[in-house]
């Protein structure tokens, strides 16, 4: 059966060049980077070269990069580490209502531990406003953490402006840039961030490896104890093949960025036009300030999981903010924060395009989806029929 992968925000396939760079570190170059013999030195060299690559891609310097097991760990390390390091100064943290759980739940946990956390609301497009951040700042604010681009609806936040504001108030600023890398330019200086999280598998790198950018001079409390790796901030023997893969993947991700994403955007817009031509559909996310590969639409009167499964039977892989797919019966906190009603949220479908998608694939989706929608609507007790 034909297979069409349109779930790149969940994860991406490993790039062949990335794999080829990783393979020697799974085989002959298996040394521990902390060993001083030739095996160790070979691994150390690879780790440090990868650090240079990550730094170069972000406009940072190598000593500002800490390798982690992914963005979840980077976010935890950043938020918990700053909260603890700054707690003498204050106890107030500002974040948004649409963060990934790796940020949202970390902030919620700190709230339970006694920190004062503001979860900023968003507008109907999932956008955080700079004014709202400004209004929330108090003399107790120690950390602001707002994502660069949302993973569900693709909305791109005004991070450079929020960063500027935080600098003016001498407040540390962290951003979860997971979805942005390889999709929009990400430069830590332009964005005025002190910390930034990323994970390799969202840009054609391997799973289980990521990094935290920590601006020089920013103090972080440790919360894992062990060896002296990653300046003791992230102890434990390095995932050498993963780190090598991350370095190569990010180098490729930022190369020819504009040409790549323009191509993806053309396909995305084609899909968007076709989908919104179906009756009773609605675009979720910002119409313009949105990741080039993201298309989140609600298909009214039907439920997301049944749409996903129906598409899956046709070989098409997408995701949804519907409850059935989230593990609880409540629909996505992102869509709810945007003010969607339950039905619209339960009927959401997320298509995220990548570099390998083709026009034929998009046309195939547009060919099969209307019949699926018609079939599911014909079963729905809330569908009152076509307007046509």
């Amino acid at each position: 059966m034909r297979k069409v992968y349109l779930d790149h925000a969940a994860t991406t396939p490993l790039n062949e060049e990335v794999l080829n760079e990783m393979l020697p570190y799974l085989k002959e170059h298996f040394g521990n980077p902390s060993s001083i013999h030739s095996f160790g030195r070979e691994a150390r060299r690879a780790v440090e070269e990868s650090r240079e690559r990550v730094a170069a891609a972000l406009g940072a310097s190598a000593e500002e990069i800490i390798f982690t097991s992914g963005a979840t760990e980077a976010n935890n390390l950043a938020i918990r580490g700053i909260a603890r390091a700054q707690q003498k100064k204050g106890n107030h943290i500002i974040t948004s209502a649409v963060e990934h759980h790796a940020v949202y739940d970390t902030c919620a946990a700190l709230q339970k531990e006694g920190f004062d956390v503001t979860f900023l609301p968003v507008d109907e497009y999932g956008m955080v406003s700079v004014d709202a951040v400004a209004a929330a700042i108090t003399d107790k604010t120690i950390l602001v953490t707002i994502m660069l681009a949302n993973n569900e609806v693709g909305t791109i936040m005004p991070i450079a402006e929020i960063g500027q504001l935080c600098r003016e108030h001498d407040i540390i600023f962290h951003t979860d840039a997971v979805q942005a890398i390889g999709n929009i330019p990400v430069n830590v200086k332009d964005l005025n961030v002190d910390l930034l999280s990323l994970t390799a598998h969202k840009f054609y790198g391997p799973k289980g490896v990521g990094a935290l950018y920590l601006r020089k001079g920013t103090r972080l409390n440790v919360y894992h104890y062990g060896g002296a790796q990653e300046r003791k901030l992230r102890p434990g023997t390095e995932n050498v093949p993963g780190i090598v893969g991350l370095g190569k993947a990010i180098e490729l991700a930022v190369k020819d960025l504009e040409a790549k994403t323009n191509r993806i955007k053309v396909l995305r817009d084609r899909l968007q036009e076709g989908l919104l031509a179906i009756e009773h559909t609605k675009l979720n996310g910002h119409p313009q300030q949105r990741l080039p590969g993201n298309l989140n639409v609600s298909i009214l009167f039907v439920e997301g999981e049944s749409l996903i499964l129906s598409l899956d039977l046709k070989g098409i892989a997408v995701s949804s903010g519907s409850a059935c797919t989230s593990g609880s019966l409540d629909p996505s906190h992102v869509l709810m924060a945007m003010g969607l009603d339950h039905q619209t949220a339960h009927g959401s479908l997320r298509f995220t395009l990548g570099v390998n998608n083709t026009e034929e694939e998009i046309d195939y989706v547009l060919e099969v989806l209307p019949d699926i929608v018609t079939r599911l609507r014909s079963m729905s007790p809330v569908y009152k029929g076509s307007n046509k």
């Binding site: 499964l309 059935c324 609880s328 039905q343 014909s378 079963m379 729905s380 809330v382």
Partner: protein, 145 residues
């Protein structure tokens, strides 16, 4: 994650639709939890379910359980039908993923409501709201997958 039987009933649901002048109609679920099932009954003088149809908004488990129960009770008396449990429906489908057992397995409840509606001779759809607040409060906090 779903059995072949579930996928079969999801892709080829039996008895979808409405019955005009139904003898009993029952509805359970709500939009907050993301599933609504409505069952229509035609019952003859011998209290046998002559015809049954459903409409469901929801995930594959919700659709498959609705479809399955219509097959299970067609031709049965309402006394027999009343005895069917959500668990039995799931078992007929070869089981449901653990989180769905509690979350989306409501077809027997919908059927019971339809029968009660028939017995009360009241053709209004019973639209009881089972949830309060803005969240789905159904007990399925152990859903993890």
């Amino acid at each position: 994650m779903y059995t072949e039987q579930v996928m079969d009933h999801f892709t080829n649901p039996r008895n979808v639709g409405e019955i005009e002048k139904a003898d009993g109609v029952g509805e359970v679920g709500n939009m907050k939890c993301g599933d609504i099932m409505r069952i229509y009954l035609k019952v003859n003088d011998n209290e046998v379910i002559e015809d049954i149809k459903f409409r469901t908004f929801g995930c594959a488990a919700a659709i498959a359980t609705s479809s399955m129960i219509t097959e299970m009770v067609k031709g049965k008396t309402i006394t027999e039908a009343m005895k069917i449990t959500n668990k039995q429906v799931a078992a007929e489908l070869g089981g449901l993923p653990a989180p769905k057992m509690h979350c989306s397995n409501l077809a027997a409840d919908a059927l019971k409501k339809a029968i009660e509606n028939y017995q009360g001779n009241n053709n209004q759809v019973n639209n009881k709201i089972e949830e309060t607040g803005n969240n789905c409060n159904r007990d399925c906090n152990n859903c993890s997958y």
